[in-house]
Subunit: 286 residues, 4 copies
């Protein structure tokens, strides 16, 4: 019996990059948080303090900025592909690289003026090894609410169940969705993202919901139906409960008008929707 090193990786997390494109009077802005994770022949750094295979995380950060200057950013999937490929191709000790990017949105107010869009972000995670690359795009903190068109009935009742059936309730959630592209080959990532996001939102709006599970599945199904370039989607959707306030002590009815929005606890629904002939995921979810 021996004690040994298992899986490991390291990298620079949350490098904040704002890239301005200044071709003429009308500027473009991309605002990113970039995280890098690398793995490979790194056992000696753990067991012997031998850093001869370790590319410093500070260098990884520098590379993000230098690439943004030299090549620009473009779609975050392209930027992540370029960075991840670079680490694997130039560092003999590095066999896998994952670059995760969160893009913070800004709305245009003028030729060089912008307003921050809020909490919703676009995400991309690219993983590379010597043989290939895998691209996962996504959205996070997309907060949606239907004020009707949602019920929750017919569920299991056991001795600890006190929840009444609800024929008409508020359904609200903060969607986190990540979808795997069937191929990492060149694509119009921006167009793909816009289309995917639109399908998710539309299916949330259109679905009469018998549970958040059903809504989640409808969203994933619609996404894959509408976007042939995608193989799989993973969704995590907290149920942001809106509880009907009992106004009877004050002599008032409450016909689904007055709600308390609660912070904790919350239901959390997680699910995957996938094509049955999807290519294997490889390192997509590494």
């Amino acid at each position: 019996m021996a004690i040994v090193l298992g899986d490991n990786r390291y990298g620079k997390a949350e490098t904040r990059l704002v890239r301005v494109v200044r071709d003429g009077a009308r500027h473009e802005l991309r605002d990113l948080t970039v995280s890098v994770a690398l793995a490979g022949d790194l056992a000696a750094s753990h067991t012997d303090g031998d850093n001869s295979g370790v590319l410093p995380t500070d260098t990884q950060k520098n590379t993000v900025y230098a690439f943004a200057g030299r090549y620009g950013v473009g779609a975050i999937e392209d930027f992540a592909l370029r960075l991840a490929r670079h680490f694997v191709d130039t560092q003999p000790s590095i066999h896998q690289a994952r670059v995760s990017i969160v893009e913070h949105g800004w709305q245009r107010l003028g030729p060089h003026s912008f307003q921050h869009s809020g909490a919703e972000t676009r995400t991309a995670t690219v993983t590379c090894d010597a043989d290939g690359a895998w691209v996962v795009s996504g959205v996070a903190d997309l907060v949606l609410l239907n004020s009707t068109g949602s019920e929750f009935v017919g569920f299991v009742k056991d001795e600890y169940t006190t929840l009444p059936e609800a024929k008409d309730r508020i359904l609200a959630t903060a969607v986190s969705a990540r979808w795997r592209h069937a191929a990492a080959s060149s694509s119009d990532w921006d167009e793909s993202f816009r289309g995917a996001r639109e399908l998710l939102v539309a299916s949330f709006v259109d679905t009469y919901s018998r549970s958040l599970q059903q809504t989640l599945y409808a969203m994933g199904h619609r996404l894959l139906e509408g976007r042939p370039e995608l193989a799989e989607v993973r969704l995590a959707m907290p149920n942001r409960h809106h509880l009907l306030v009992d106004l009877a002590p004050f002599g008032l009815a409450n016909p689904n008008e007055v709600f308390v929005a609660t912070d904790r606890p919350y239901g959390l629904i997680e699910g995957t929707v996938v094509r049955d002939d999807a290519p294997p995921p490889g390192l997509a979810w590494w």
Copy 2:
């Protein structure tokens, strides 16, 4: 010499209220966080544990929900006025009441579907006593950025100064502004808010900035110029520094294209702009 009770107040903070208006198929939604603070003849509760003048904070919360059911919400200024007035008028022990409301925005996606708008919020604070009421409206976390049209030169240099002068820089801030209405009398608060917000944004966009101080003053000045119903505005604007990355070690120029957005520390500019014939503030800022 004696040890005595000084200023004091108490109340329920951060009551979360979502109010749906369901007149027909097209719903309206208002999403509020309501905080109440009350003061008056409350010394005995502190010094003797005599609660005979204390309206429980739980009752204050109930009142928020009951009023939302009975009267609806409407503009947050109106809702705050109604609540603040109620506490002062119905409780003999309560002489001042302050109701502060933060409204979280939702964009419409369909007749009963909405998307959360993000971090920016609309605010209102109403203070009442037996004689009158004071209304302060505002906006918080309105994050704005100009990618050019900003400089910072001609400042004091002392022995601890290393900052180079900047002829062209990014200017970004999260505006918190609160403006005092000259009168608390009935008004179209929603229209007033929309107009005020628009002036703040427009002046940020239009102002060539020699400092964030100058931008702050220009915003406040434009607000009062354009909205005669307002007497005073208080602005707090953190300087969300975007530092130019030195790419020279990598053989690259950086002509104002690649920036690191930093979290801390940050400059913080606070200032008031006021009419010289404004009515006295009374309890507006209590």
Copy 3:
């Protein structure tokens, strides 16, 4: 009628400083977040973009680090006094300076090893002008709980009251307290802080509580009684509600054993306790 500049100030907020004292093998560590705010003849920077009186916030940050190197830190009150005095004495345009410091605690694990102590922080705010200085010390996020010895009865009942009287409840709060020293003259600030904090904690533990108001007043009173160097204390204490869970539907009693700790809403009690012969506060609370 004219629109004019009112009160204003500016400075660098949240400069993060860790100062190690390395005299011999046993190191000392002080971990601070320092915020500076300055005011004076700064109208021209607002109205004309004339920065000739503006000491950059970047310079203020540099000064924090340089002073930490040159003089060390010592008690945070001393460090804040030194910094605030410097800005007023060396900058003709600056007439008031406020330096606020939050100290993050570390427990010793070895001669040069430490463990972070958690959320509780020690605070100091020093304000200077040409004539004098005012020192306010304090504590924040000191979270205390009594699992019995607390009741809440005899309160006002109106038509919106549903809260039952409680003869035995959990009382929990996160104490934020700031106490004003009668004089800013040299003092053993560390000893004063330790003594003050001990009195606050002891009075929370010892007081049979008829309301959080009563506990707040008892804490402030005990503090001033025990520390003659202090003139006034301001306390803000949120009521971190622990609600008894109704286990009756499951055939179980709940004799004050099972509670849900709620996030929002929460009661918020704010109060001042002061000596009736205290010197005037001057700029202490500026």
Copy 4:
């Protein structure tokens, strides 16, 4: 080709529970955040809105409170085992259950008085299916710092490397560690936790560090060496960078005394240490 449901689970997240044991005058307190996730025959709820196999997340929450009342809490591993087993054993549709508990610490101040310990938490995750159970214990947000005894030299230098070698630096991290028990059979979980935590802290303090990777491995190795009941440990350790401030512009040396503690970006080191004869992990990390 078809679009199908893949992996999925659901449950109630972040149920806040405070349990007081009141045997006599000296109370005991356990403060937990409990999250439940369930999986099984749940396809119909996703695809057909058929909730006949869905135990509501509200019922899961009720079960947490009811079990706390009926059985008490004890060690969080025991409480999680009891809950996870219950869901699998009583619900025909549920085949796997995971219960994750975060315990918030309180230090004793008196017979029924406590002070919150801060950010560090103890964690346990138990997963059950029909055949067995797996127990993972851990610690999170354990923030440690060595002010010397750390270097980082001999690393890869490429064209993007600007980091100088450091012979003496601050090493600080927030340890998140989760260790898998070889068996889920009855054990003194509290004693095991105390011993494990002590080994992690001691090895951080004792290790002369050539990199955070080396420190991570040393901590994991020491843990498994000292605790035969443990099979594997997974560590995630952000490098909380403390950068030496350049005081040369102010005519000052900085012999490792004045540092800026940065928020972002940060290095992130993740690694597993495992016995080579460890039993297979089963659902431990599900």
